[in-house]
């Protein structure tokens, strides 16, 4: 069982966490102004990269706080964790897709 480093609590077992999908997908400023295409893109479409991926995680079994993490989807290693609202840290080989 993997250890995940919560930025508030430190390393905890993965069963304490919930996965929250891709990070940095902002709720549109004015949903009514979006086209059907833009809105469905927000609702349903996410990246699926091989390698580093910025994700949202929720420490439901601990501090009950959401945070962001960069995780390598090939090795499952967490490369960085950071707070919601912060920019994704620059890591070698990573790119922010949105």
């Amino acid at each position: 069982m993997q250890l995940i480093e919560c930025p508030n609590c430190g390393k905890r077992e993965e069963i304490e966490f919930h996965y929250g999908g891709q990070a940095h997908i902002a709720y549109p400023e004015d949903p009514a102004a979006t086209t059907d295409h833009e809105w469905s893109d927000y609702l349903f479409f996410r990246d699926n990269p091989k390698g580093p991926f910025a994700e949202r995680w929720y420490h439901g079994g601990g501090c009950r706080r959401w945070f962001n993490a960069v995780r390598d989807t090939t090795s499952y290693r967490f490369l960085a964790v950071y707070q919601p609202g912060e920019r994704m840290p620059a890591l070698p080989g990573t790119r922010v897709t949105r």
């Binding site: 069982m1 993997q2 250890l3 929250g20 902002a26 709720y27 549109p28 004015d30 949903p31 009514a32 979006t34 059907d36 809105w39 469905s40 927000y42 609702l43 949202r56 929720y58 439901g60 009950r64 706080r65 959401w66 499952y76 919601p84 609202g85």
Partner: protein, 930 residues
């Protein structure tokens, strides 16, 4: 009967005889025996028969790699298919060999199982000389060390072969190391403990066998097995090696044994496995066993596949009177019930083929050594890669894995290990001999008896059939033949299988590779894995503060998530249907009450609480007045209904939100997700208060009188206390709150008091209502009452693909708010299709005919499958108020079908129904105001 216990020797405790029962016969062994060594000591070497072919099978090893000696334990508790070599002998043990398959217990296991967590800097797996050395070195530096071994004491191979370490006998040296380890507070030594799984980030699972060996002396309540959940920085794998067999005809006969096993039985258990012995080997390691057996009085002939053997061995054997036949192999083990001889033949130089005539040697024990496989299961589980070593003819570790170290031959050699004694465990180059050609004279009786996987009865021919079918990968061959999939998971047969396939395909074993090892290393009982989490402790049970009353009054319970909720309260002899009719009539005509405490309750407060709820709900909540209540619907961003409930404004900046029982935790999480990730600037706090409050709906035309009596300080009249209002109140002397909410359509008051006073207030309600015939009702009646009113239950009548409009809740969707979660999606083309499913009611043409939940809605009585499915029934009940069965359903364009005749199909029954509005009772809502 050829195996026997010697009068002296071994590390068994002859002062502690143990009585046990084998296949109905009373036998005696000693403390320190395994079941296998005790059986051999008693002269028993045939255990059971094989699963597919029914061939007799004996004892082939002395440890976890055992592939033939499978036993059924009868006492102390039935357990199927354990290797006799891993069952520690205990007083009163009863077992028998199995014919193919074991048998599970036919009763509950009374033993306790538990689990412990442990943390370590270093975990050492295997307490042989390497493991002990590693553990001691780390322990002396102060590191937290855990040393685990599946044997009953530390020492590993030192217990088996009588080697010396640093000039002292191995057992004595191991005892000295153990004494030092035991004196250190930072060390935990776990024997009888099998490390069976390696997982991420140093997480390791092990199972400790804690009480079987103690028998009746075990302290009451001591767990039988314990799962250790170890988190370690570094793991040293010092698990030694397994000797491997060779595939020749009849190699599965009782009396055929690995050479090292015979050595172990002799040295450790003082059991001589045979008097007249043939040793068939491809390497030098088995010569130590030969020397020991001869010293114990056996006659022994060595058949070595190598054209010549190292000079030291050669002269040593001459001195001991051991005949060595070089350049030969065993072709067939002779015998039907057990081995009584072998035929041998010279090997053609450079190849495995028989050349020349065969000779016969009589024997009662045939030892085999095809070389050694390092035990790399745990390393492989840790995703370490393996490479084939030509000199050892075995797979060895090929990569480094973070957090893992290997102890073994390479470590020993790099430390300068170079045994002077030619009979010591020395790995001269091993000859890669896998299978021997079938004998020409048909000794094997026509069918191939060269077993590769003895436990699965997989022969060389079957593997060749797989390669003949075009399979080229060991993973495929494994699945085609079942090779390596038995209880022993191919511990001795896996590499042998690779060797046979490589030989057939004319490629090297290195090129072919081997299969991947996965947890568990050896079988682990489900009881151990479950630990204490079984029966009542399997999942928490949640009960309300009024639960004791429900129990005392004969309630039947329904599981709603983890909650136990009263389902109905049957009178003596009453059925569910009868009770529900009675309870619902009481609610519609007099007064009834229920325990609604499981309702999810969330306290939402803060300067922006109203703004937040406006974003969360489809309705406008900020306009709600203090003291008022509003029904609300919550959607996901996709516009699909997520939950519903009420919002009560307790103060300008404080709301109480209710959720469906099953969604309480999920909705709190949902709020947190939006507050933390999307709108962190909103000043809002949300906290669950579900368990803090008991909620008692008092329902029915006479409810006002009951509530007025309970809470005289509140004016309960229709004018003073209108529908969807809330009032602080002293209820039966307890400070609480009364909400005019109705989930039944009747005049209703929901009494809320702190949970501590829940049962007292409930009893006060029952007492106050007695004169009015108050009737407690359960969830089934609640469902009927709400369904008559067309109130959907989120999760029963919905499935995450329905908008508020589909459910007929368009009235609860604000048109004023610029945005809320889900609003934009209502305009999506998919969500405006006219043929979307609508929530409607159904009445059967025959009022006595029930409409089952899950029934499919079709347009014609004639059923021709496939046919268009218009929808399905989500709820179906019998209604006392309607005098008919009825149902709620989701039907394509249902609201455009009012009055239409459709049909519900359920398990072959076709029910004619009429489509109606989802609200079947009191559509004007006059009843709720009393």
């Amino acid at each position: 009967m050829t195996a026997r216990r010697l009068p002296t020797g071994g590390s068994i405790d002859r002062g502690a005889p143990l009585a046990f029962r084998w296949a109905g016969t009373d036998l005696t062994g000693y403390q320190g025996d395994t079941l296998a060594s005790a059986l051999l000591g008693a002269g028993i070497d045939t255990i059971g028969s094989s699963v597919r072919l029914g061939r007799p099978r004996g004892i082939t090893s002395a440890g976890t790699e055992e592939s033939t000696a499978l036993v059924q334990i009868e006492k102390p508790f039935p357990e199927p298919m354990l290797p006799a070599t891993t069952v520690e002998l205990a007083e009163g043990l009863a077992a028998r060999g199995i014919t193919g398959q074991g048998r599970l217990a036919d009763r509950d296991d009374p033993a306790r199982y538990d689990a412990r967590h442990a943390h370590a800097d270093l975990l050492v797996v295997g307490a042989g000389p390497a493991g002990l050395t590693a553990a001691l070195a780390a322990a002396r530096t102060g590191e937290r060390v855990i040393l685990a071994d599946d044997d009953i004491r530390v020492g590993g191979s030192l217990l088996d072969y009588g080697e010396t370490v640093e000039g002292v006998p191995g057992e004595q040296w191991a005892a000295g190391v153990l004494a030092e380890l035991a004196s250190l507070p930072n060390v935990r030594v776990l024997v009888r403990t099998t490390v069976f799984g390696i997982y991420d980030d140093g997480f390791v699972l092990a199972v400790e066998h804690r009480s079987d060996h103690l028998g009746a002396a075990a302290r009451p309540g001591r767990s039988r097995e314990r799962i250790w959940r170890i988190r370690t920085t570094t793991t040293v794998i010092a698990t030694g090696g397994y000797e491997r067999p060779i595939a020749f005809a009849n190699n599965d006969l009782p009396g055929v044994m690995l050479a090292s096993a015979a050595h172990t039985y002799l040295h450790r258990y003082a059991v001589l496995a045979g008097e007249s012995v043939v040793l068939f080997t491809t390497n030098s390691t088995a010569y130590g066993a030969a020397r020991a057996l001869v010293a114990a009085g056996a006659r022994l002939t060595i058949v070595d596949t190598r054209p010549e053997i190292p000079a030291g061995l050669d002269s040593g054997c001459r001195n001991l009177g051991i005949e060595v036949v070089t350049g030969h192999h065993v072709v067939t083990a002779l015998g039907t019930d057990r081995v009584h001889g072998v035929t041998i033949a010279p090997r053609r130089a450079g190849g495995p083929h028989v050349a020349g005539a065969s000779a016969t040697i009589d024997c009662d024990l045939l030892l085999v050594s095809g070389g050694w496989n390092p035990v790399l299961h745990l390393f492989s589980q840790a995703r370490g890669t393996l490479a084939f070593d030509e000199r050892l003819q075995a797979f060895v570790a090929a990569s480094e894995v973070r957090g893992f170290e290997l102890a073994g031959l390479a470590a020993a050699e790099s430390a300068g290990y170079d045994p002077a004694d030619p009979f010591a465990f020395a790995l001269h180059p091993v000859e890669g001999v896998w299978s021997i050609p079938l004998p020409a004279d048909g000794d094997a009786g026509g069918s191939d008896t060269r077993f590769v996987d003895v436990q699965r009865d997989v022969t060389v021919s079957e593997i060749l059939r797989a390669t003949g079918a075009g399979l080229r990968s060991m993973e495929h061959v494994k699945r085609y033949t079942t090779l390596g999939t038995a209880l022993d998971q191919g511990k001795t047969s896996g590499l042998l299988g690779s060797g046979v396939v490589a030989q057939e395909l004319g490629i090297s074993v290195a090129e072919l590779g081997t299969t991947t090892f996965r947890p568990p290393f050896s079988p682990v009982g489900f009881a151990a894995l479950a630990g204490a989490d079984r029966g009542e402790l399997y999942d928490p049970i949640r009960v309300t503060a009024i639960h004791p009353w429900h129990l005392a009054h004969g309630a039947e319970f329904e599981n709603v998530g983890q909650w136990k909720r009263p389902w109905y309260y049957p009178l003596p002899g009453e059925s569910l249907d009868e009770a529900v009719l009675r309870e619902s009539i009481a609610a519609r005509t007099m007064v009834a009450c229920m325990d609604g405490s499981t309702l999810g309750k969330i306290d939402v407060r803060g300067a922006d609480a109203a703004a937040f709820l406006d974003l969360l709900y489809t309705n406008l909540m900020s306009s709600l007045k203090v003291g008022s209540i509003r029904y609300g619907v919550m959607c996901g961003p996709d516009g699909m209904v997520k939950d519903d409930g009420t919002v009560i404004r307790l103060a300008e900046e404080r709301f109480l939100v209710t959720t469906t029982t099953g969604n309480a935790a999920a909705i709190l999480d949902w709020m947190e997700e939006w507050l933390q990730t999307e709108w962190p600037d909103l000043r809002v706090f949300a906290a669950s208060v579900t368990e803090q409050w008991v909620t008692i709906p008092v329902v029915g035309p006479l409810s006002r009188a009951v509530v007025q009596q309970l809470a005289p300080g509140v004016d309960a009249s229709a004018a003073a206390f209108p529908f969807m209002a809330t009032r602080d109140a002293v209820i039966a002397g307890v400070d609480g709150r009364i909400d005019r909410i109705s989930f039944s359509g009747e005049l209703a008051f929901e009494l809320n008091v702190p949970a501590w006073y829940g049962q007292a207030v409930w009893e006060a309600v029952i007492a106050a209502g007695e004169q009015h015939g108050i009737t407690p009702y359960g969830t089934e009646t609640m469902h009927v009452l709400r369904a008559e009113k067309g109130y959907p239950i989120i999760g029963q009548d919905t499935d995450g693909t329905l908008s508020p409009h589909d459910l007929g809740l368009g009235w609860a969707v604000s048109k004023k708010k610029p945005d809320f979660i889900g609003k934009r999606s209502f305009a999506r083309a998919e969500n405006t299709r006219p043929d979307r499913r609508h929530f409607v009611g159904l009445l059967p043409v025959d009022p006595e005919e029930s409409i089952p939940e899950g029934a499919q809605i079709i347009a014609s009585r004639e059923v021709t499958i496939p046919m268009p499915m218009l929808g399905h029934v989500t709820s179906g009940y019998r209604s006392a108020a309607l005098g008919s069965h009825f149902a709620l359903a989701l039907i394509s364009a249902g609201r455009d079908r009012m009055g239409e005749r459709l049909f519900a199909w359920s398990e072959g029954r076709v029910i004619a129904v009429t489509v109606t509005d989802s609200v079947l009772l009191d559509k004007e809502g006059t009843r709720r105001d009393g």
